[in-house]
Subunit: 688 residues, 2 copies
């Protein structure tokens, strides 16, 4: 025999295998994401060789630097084909880790096999001897509770007295689960991390507006392009918050509030030279008055930001600031830290370019600077500065043009200090880049929703978001932004605004609008073929008549109310798209993984010009309904209830009346059961 090249394990390995299914990101290299108070379902494959019964438990604990927390444990339940699941609801912010434990349940294996023999009329004398030994061993376990010791002693006596019927009682399964000696246990290859965010990290409605245009010339009901408007301050724009809160929004997002540079400032409609009274783009950050930790004097002071944030909190909203790491030529960092910027051979600082376009008003930061440590610390300190002043939500401008390693480092550090912080990545770029930003810590990401408009496009995109990347990439769907007025919005009229708002608010747990322009159906582009607004607020002051009779505020209010009432809309992974032969109709549903909320079923006519009548083919199983069931669908938008039957059901949606249904789904026999339990693979948490 040749010498053995591989030595035996020192102790007998478990016969059980445990493999993670979800949530897991890159095998545990990155954290998955969940939110406080939200059900988190863990799925794992647990199996052994042969035919013995396996048992599985989910364990989890907070990951706190410097101290070891106790594991908590719940039973996992089998959902078929070796897959097990359990749902927990973490109630503290910060990182947790989970493990899945599997073992052979020798007692339950014995019970199953003995019952099979009893049912076949075979002699079980030998089995009863084997069983009482197993029972006694389990009763002797240090981990077995006194109550279960009593149960096991009773079982021993009953079997000794010849009563084998007792074995058919399935309640033994649960007792055996707790008492069977588990050694050797199988575990995941390593515990897997999950970040527990505040709820608005995953679920929220965002409203963006420019505070300088919030209250023009002292009035917030004036309309049109004022000849000589005066900008409003942060404190004045607090007036707008009641309007936003009344519509049910959760996050108020302001474009950058910092001093704006004057060198090469852009004028109205992005003119390359600004008129003397042009207010400039908020993204041209930095002037002698300060940079990323200063407030533009026209808007107010740093303290006013805290006041504004407090005003938001008082209305159950969060303030989100826009952090754009770029500098105008007048930014204090330009003279103070010239090494943080790339230079041209003549020594001048390299401005931004997309040849042949030049952006001479913007200096990018150089993440390959020799003083990259100084730069990284300064950038992280910008977030710290605002966090300490009461801001915990940040919309980060173009993070994909800054080093991934910087974001990974900075977000991990900031969230370990302040786990309540939420970062939204404003990045419209290639899929792998956007996914990377999500992996390395951004809580949410802007999406391609804005340009996904057909049934096929929406289905494919959201099915991908709901499966492949769902453990870490959280979409925030925006029908419009100050940068993006889609061709569809330009030409589709009110019906497009309506359907896009309904889609964003129901497909995606987080959604947002560039508010005044969306409420008031602003649809004129600066020129044909452009997605830029005419007279964009980015470059000039605007006035908005928010009391207009045409305003979409009532729809937005109703949508946000439905989102708060229907728990099923909080998640993405239960998304199920139902079939419809008419390509203008998109039909989808969501269910509540906690089994509390009703299923929500949405049917949208994507055609803003024509009425569509069609049958939708409902996958009843996805709604937790039996084959062929009758059920009621209550239109939460319109209030009408329909009795539907079986899978094929008729819809009739005209853009001039109702573009969509947002149904809650009710069992017809609901008097008995009140709520529909979902048919999802949700395990019941059983305390160990």
């Amino acid at each position: 025999m040749p010498p053995r090249t591989s030595t035996l394990p020192t102790s007998r390995p478990s016969r059980v295998v445990v493999e993670p299914v979800r949530p897991v990101v890159d095998g545990g290299n990155y954290s998955a994401k969940s939110a406080i108070g939200e059900p988190m379902t863990v799925v794992a494959d647990v199996f052994a060789d042969g035919h013995d019964v396996v048992a599985a438990a989910l364990r989890w604990r907070p990951v706190t630097t410097g101290q070891q927390s106790e594991w908590q444990e719940v039973a996992m339940v089998s959902v078929g084909n070796d897959r097990y699941t359990a749902t927990i609801t973490p109630n503290e912010l910060g990182r947790i880790e989970y493990d899945v434990v599997g073992w052979i349940d020798h007692l339950e294996t014995w019970r199953r096999d003995t019952v099979t023999k009893l049912d076949a009329g075979l002699d079980v004398t030998s089995e009863l001897l084997t069983g009482t030994r197993l029972i006694d061993a389990a009763a002797d376990c240090a981990t077995t509770s006194q109550e279960n010791r009593d149960h096991l002693a009773h079982l021993h006596r009953t079997l000794r007295d010849g009563d084998t019927m007792v074995l058919s009682d399935a309640r033994w399964t649960d007792i055996f689960w707790r008492c069977t000696p588990r050694e050797p246990e199988a575990h995941l290859a390593r515990p897997l991390p999950v970040d527990i965010d505040p709820l608005h990290g995953t679920f929220g409605a965002w409203y963006e507006f420019f505070p300088r245009s919030a209250v023009v010339n002292g009035s917030r009901s004036r309309v049109g392009h004022e000849p000589d408007p005066q900008p409003s301050t942060l404190l004045e724009s607090i007036d707008r918050l009641d309007h936003i809160a009344a519509m049910g929004f959760d996050i108020v997002y302001l474009p950058p509030i910092h001093p704006i540079g004057t060198t090469n400032r852009k004028g109205s409609n992005n003119a390359t030279t600004a008129a003397p009274d042009d207010v400039g783009s908020p993204w041209g950050i930095g002037s002698p008055e300060g940079g990323h930790t200063a407030v533009a004097p026209d808007l107010g002071t740093v303290d006013d930001v805290t006041t504004f944030a407090t005003a938001c909190s008082g209305r159950n909203m969060h303030l989100a600031l826009d952090i754009a790491f770029q500098c105008s030529p007048d930014h204090p960092w330009v003279p103070a830290h010239p090494e943080w910027f790339a230079k041209r051979p003549d020594g001048s600082i390299q401005y931004a370019e997309n040849p042949p376009k030049k952006y001479q008003d913007i200096y990018p930061l150089d993440f390959e600077s020799d003083d990259w440590q100084g730069l990284w610390n300064a950038l992280a300190d910008v977030f710290r500065f605002w966090i300490e002043r009461g801001v915990t939500v940040f919309r980060v401008d173009n993070p994909h043009t800054k080093s991934f390693a910087f974001w990974e480092w900075a977000i991990a550090m900031l969230r370990s200090e302040h786990p309540e912080t939420v970062f939204l990545a404003e990045s419209f770029t290639r899929p792998r880049v956007m996914e990377r930003l999500a992996k390395i810590g951004f809580n949410q990401n802007y999406t391609y929703f804005t340009w996904r408009q057909s049934q096929t496009e929406l289905r494919e995109y959201f099915e991908d978001l709901a499966t492949r990347t769902v453990d870490y990439f959280r979409p925030n769907a925006w029908p419009n932004t100050p940068d993006i007025l889609t061709e569809q919005l330009q030409h589709g009229g009110r019906a497009v605004f309506v359907s896009r708002a309904i889609l964003a608010a129901t497909l995606s747990p987080s959604w947002g609008v560039y508010g005044p322009a969306f409420e008031l159906l602003e649809a004129t582009a600066v020129r044909e073929g452009s997605e830029e607004y005419l007279d964009s607020e980015k470059y000039q002051l605007r006035t908005w008549d928010l009391s207009s009779d045409d305003s979409l505020a009532p729809l937005l209010t109703r949508l946000n109310q439905i989102r708060h009432d229907q728990r099923s809309l909080r998640n993405l992974h239960t998304l199920h798209v139902h079939a419809c032969d008419d390509p203008a109709i998109l039909c989808f549903s969501k269910t509540d993984p906690a089994g509390v909320g009703r299923p929500v079923l949405v049917v949208v006519n994507l055609d803003p010009f024509e009425r569509h009548q069609a049958f939708v083919d409902i996958d009843l199983h996805a709604l937790g309904l039996p084959y062929g069931a009758d059920f009621d669908v209550v239109d939460e938008l319109g209030g009408v209830t329909y009795r539907w039957s079986g899978n094929m059901n008729f819809v009739d949606l005209a853009p001039w009346s109702a573009s969509a249904h947002v149904f809650s789904v009710h069992r017809v026999d609901e008097a008995a059961t009140d709520d529909i339990g979902t048919a999802s693979t949700t395990g019941t948490a059983v305390a160990a």
Copy 2:
């Protein structure tokens, strides 16, 4: 400021990110699989922040215990959306590991941006200054070859002389790739392992027969159930090898050849009591003559196995032995190592059971034995024993009823000693269990092919095999085995045997038949509803008239010839199923990742009773053909050539004439190009 909880990296991290796509198994916890001389395509996502050009290289090296091998390197090419690919062809057995390296190509970024500006008519004075500095830095690199230093010096001079046209020459891309300083490089989170098997580890045709029935009463052309046949020996059955080799099979697989127990031996047709002259099942292993390292006296000696293996090699075939780790009550281990078997309370050894069925002729081994180390070593030594006697292919019986940890340990050890060894897992059980066996080291697995019979079943199953598990799970598709005579084979007649052979041989890189029964269309089950053969060779001797006019040998010969001629059939991951509205027609293709072999397109009529005429909708892109192309399809089964045009093409397949086409695909303009390059994502290996 609070104290920082996360320190900066010690050196500036790369701006580039490298993520593996394939091959990778569980994030690198297990080895992927490839074969010697076969193209192995590595796919990775490589990208950076911003808009700079990234470059990527694949590195790989043998993993040899105790010594560090040198990395070899090839360029990876972009295939869009940040995905890069390279194909290598390892030429040594054993484990390799690969890494993917990514870096910013500052020179190529500069060239691209400067050419863009030149094209836009802009001044590039500043760019040329920047460029010459980059060029000089690259020329100074220690790793830059003298030839490339000369190229760079020439470029410097040319630019200095004012000739900027030179930059439009795309050949600079390749030179810059080699010369740009790479630091800091990005790497995979860890190198990923791949096992390089012999070719028959992934691609081979298997033929199973019972040597004791190979030559009955001295004649191999007698037919029927002899009243008193005498078993043939291993040496006599060498006579059969020419017949098997002539059909083009690669592996000759024998059921267990060990002494067969007599206690509780099964009789003909699995009778619970054997007649005195019943030969017993080869899987009832062990008698006083020996166990797993002995040969049944009726068959011959251990030396005869070596002789038989050598006879196989002489015909370009490999011998595969069946290793079934279970014991008859007469096995020498029963008295020698009673601790390796589970006991009943009365002290007797526990026989196998599937209540209410009892298998009293079989004692399972107890992998939870207190002497599990002794048992594991003894089992590993069984393989060593046969490897040292010239057997390197093992078909392992029911590995899923033995501890996964044992297989993982044993196979890793045996393959590190003997990387030429191939293990086929005979396991028909749940998906996760079969996949686990593949992950932990089995080179190949039996599959559900046997029961996947409709177009939808075959498409879904093989598409899953070709994608989700393709890096580690290698199917071996069998139309029949001594245990499995499907209902379809029992009732479908010759056409089913034909179509199942064609499907197995072309869908799966490895396939096999339980030979004599398949060749001779044996289709009678022991009873209605059973998949067991009547008068199964498992329990009795049989004679086979291999010269029958009805024999399928000509078809099997032709199929194996096509498999050897058409390199596209060696792989699974290029499988593409084409659409056909007729559910009786399955149409699929494969291409050669090395770009050498022609595409193969297979069209099978799955209905053994009716002629089907249908249009197949060919995805021309999958065949490397342009939209709307004309192309020739040459039926390698029938020899007929058809000129096809565009995607919709007509087929007419009747079970009584031709059940299937196996086409090679030829471009119409082939005179010019000879071979069709596949449109797959194959990178060109560029030596560094």
